[in-house]
Amino acid sequence: MAHPLHIGAAIDGAGSHPAAHRSTPAAPYELFTAAHYAHSARLAERATLDYVTLDDSFAAPGRPGVPGRPDALLTLAALAPVTSGIGLVPTVTTTHTEPFHVSKGIASLDHASRGRAGWLVEVSDTEDDARLVGRRPVAPAEELWNEAGAVVDAASALWDSWEDGAEIRDVATGRFIDRDRLHYVDHEYVRREDARPEDGPHAEDTGWTVRGPSITPRPPQGHPVVFVRADTDDRLRTAARYADAVLIRARTPERAAQRRAEVHRAVRGAGRDPGQVRVLADLGIVLDRDRRIAEERSARLDALVPGDGAPETGARGTGISGAKPSAPSRPAATFAGTPRDLAREIEAWSEAVDGLTLRPAVLPVDLERFAADTVPLLKEAGILRTARTADTLRGNLGLRRPANRHAPTARTAPTAPASEGAPR
């Protein structure tokens, strides 16, 4: 029996291929409706996948097609009430948004989904992003990823700023909360010491502080699952310190296995246990009844893309509006073939990585074919679970619920406490 994999799906817009917009049956305006994303998320949920991801950025994604996309956190929040088992992992950027807002946004997705929230941490590294906010010029990747780490650190301190059970509702003493179980976080991040007038109205913006506590009680998972894409050294450093799930790209299972070993080394180097980190590789998929037809379709899609035609896989490619290219150089694997062959391909990855983020080339088509024809084979082969093992994303990924840093004894509760007191 093969080793079961953690499988997720990217449900971005028209699909993951840069020419997806030329092929999807979805009309452009539908990419801003909840129904479009709900369709893909339900497919993934019924297939007992672990999670769906939705990318985001302030400026337009640097690729052809509709020059925009909806806010990822809010779009996945709209899916929370219409799904019940699938993990919801939006990209939320850390460069321009206040850590306080980031923290409570992710915590609230976790509350609304009863423990199914993840957070794909990203930075804003283009001039276009910076100008839309106008608070600071674009910064080098090293600085941005250091800061991203500090934001994750502050966000998780805010998640812990309410201990589990801080809400006591003690009628006898009239106290709603036990304030001894609420904590200040007092985080400070100094980006640079000097303030230059030429930086415009926000020259004073040299970093940030957060006093705490959060206004939002600790989320059901304790800490929603932190995903970091680790395609560069800067990203890997932050991933090693803070990520529960590390996304990688590799052309082959062999290279993926090497990369996983590198990630594990970095995680150990940061003083953490690699057993509590999942390494997940991207896999683009183009599916058809017949291998030849799938390959032709894949080639046709590639031919529609100006330039080198390499499928874009998540991070942002060359900007159509002059955005500076920010896509990491590691290419990802793409599979074009039949749903049956895909099952064999996925099996070939099962020793190399902990799981895969499938990137359907065109939505919803390639996800529908995967769900209908590949999933039963994967279940038969024991590569995909036939039922979920837990009701939280953390639980399904086999990750422990973290103890609160303020809890008197470092207890680890196996499951989330109920945050729901109200009738549905």
């Binding site: 452009p28 052809p64 509709v66 809010l74 321009h96 807002h101 906010v133 926000h202």
Partner: protein, 472 residues
Amino acid sequence: MSASDRRTGRRIRLAAHFPGVNNTTVWADPRSHSQIGFGSFAHLARTAERGGFDYLFLAEGLRLREHRGRIHDLDVMGRPDTLTVLAALSAVTEHLGLAGTLSATYNEPYEISRQIATLDHLSGGRAAWNVVTSSDAFTGENFRRGGYLDHADRYERAESFLRAARAFWDSWDTDALSPHTGTRGTARPGAVHPVSHRDRFFDIAGNATVPRPPQGHPVIIQAGDSPRGRDLAAAQADVVFSRHGGLEEGREFYADVKARLPAHGRDEDDLLIMPAATLVLGDTEEEAAERARHIRYQQVSGATAIQFVEQVWGRDLSDHDPEGPFPTVEPDLDTVVTQGKAAARFHDRAAKAREWRDLAEAEGLSLRELVVRVSARQTFVGTPRTVADTLVEHVETRACDGFVLVPHLTPGGLDEFVDRVVPLLRERGALRTEYEGATLRENLGLRPRPAPDRGATREPSGAGEPTPVPGP
């Protein structure tokens, strides 16, 4: 139904306020459930939609309140993120407006405009934004901007913030993604216009990444009370959320705010005034009054009463018996003991202290009784019929255009109102039986926000409503 009931045919607008983090919300009642779990929000939203309400309203405060240097622990505390909750609610409601309070001080225009535009798309045109300004350094400690704005500046920033947000909402032509433009899978070339907004607060340039919202502009709510706040409302808002729910003070406020409209080229119907109100029902007037009294004493526990007076007294009164006489020690007016929103409530503490002392003495009130008396909010107490009559009277006589109802129980606090008062309001034609419009803006009876005229290159789209992005 008598003919006089339809005198002016003024319709009542209703909003459901999710119970707030203050002592209006009674958490000690056995029927009180989670303030955080999504089920509570879904319950209240479904109740409001069943009752034909215009929108559900979420308040927001970005720092936990403190009292005498410690986190306040007597009231409900904690809430989820406003936008996240509203986005989730869009999935369990069909017609109800989704209004959120978001600070123009501790956010950035591009991000907020994009989030609200996303919410408007996800909900098919039901988003509303209560634009609040916050300047206190206390809240600012959670953010990089600290407390650097003073009172006048924060309204200037809010006004600039709103102009920037509107520029982003207007920056995609309404037909940018129309299936009839002949483009394959992308926007019509030339349909996305760059935005540039530069002044002493902002330096913003670039393209929006979300199409024009279905409402054109989501509904704008304003809750400031100062002359500057009222002017901002008259210039920019669609709805004022006010504290002036009484008949007399309501009429005064209503006349004052509506008189500011012509200066901005707007008329009476362009701005709705909706004060906060609580209500208590009973089968008889006596029963309702008894229930109201019971609720007031639940809201004002002995400990809460003492802390309430401490806010004005500026000193520790914990050695006082709440059921005993009103304090005779002098207030310490130089000390502020409460941090957070409630601190702003008392502008002239010396006058308040005198007033309370005189009242307690004249009527022989205990400390707690005094607080029950002076902290009463606008409350309608009566049978379903008298409450319905009173609500209608307020609207008919232009004390307001409707109400933001604040229940004291989470999440069932409006169930009884919807079961017993709503049918009476419907019977007399004061409240819709079905949602008439497709968007919140339409349901509120507000004028559409036409797309900006960008000159002669586009064919005239006719006056009025911009073509919404077609639904699936």
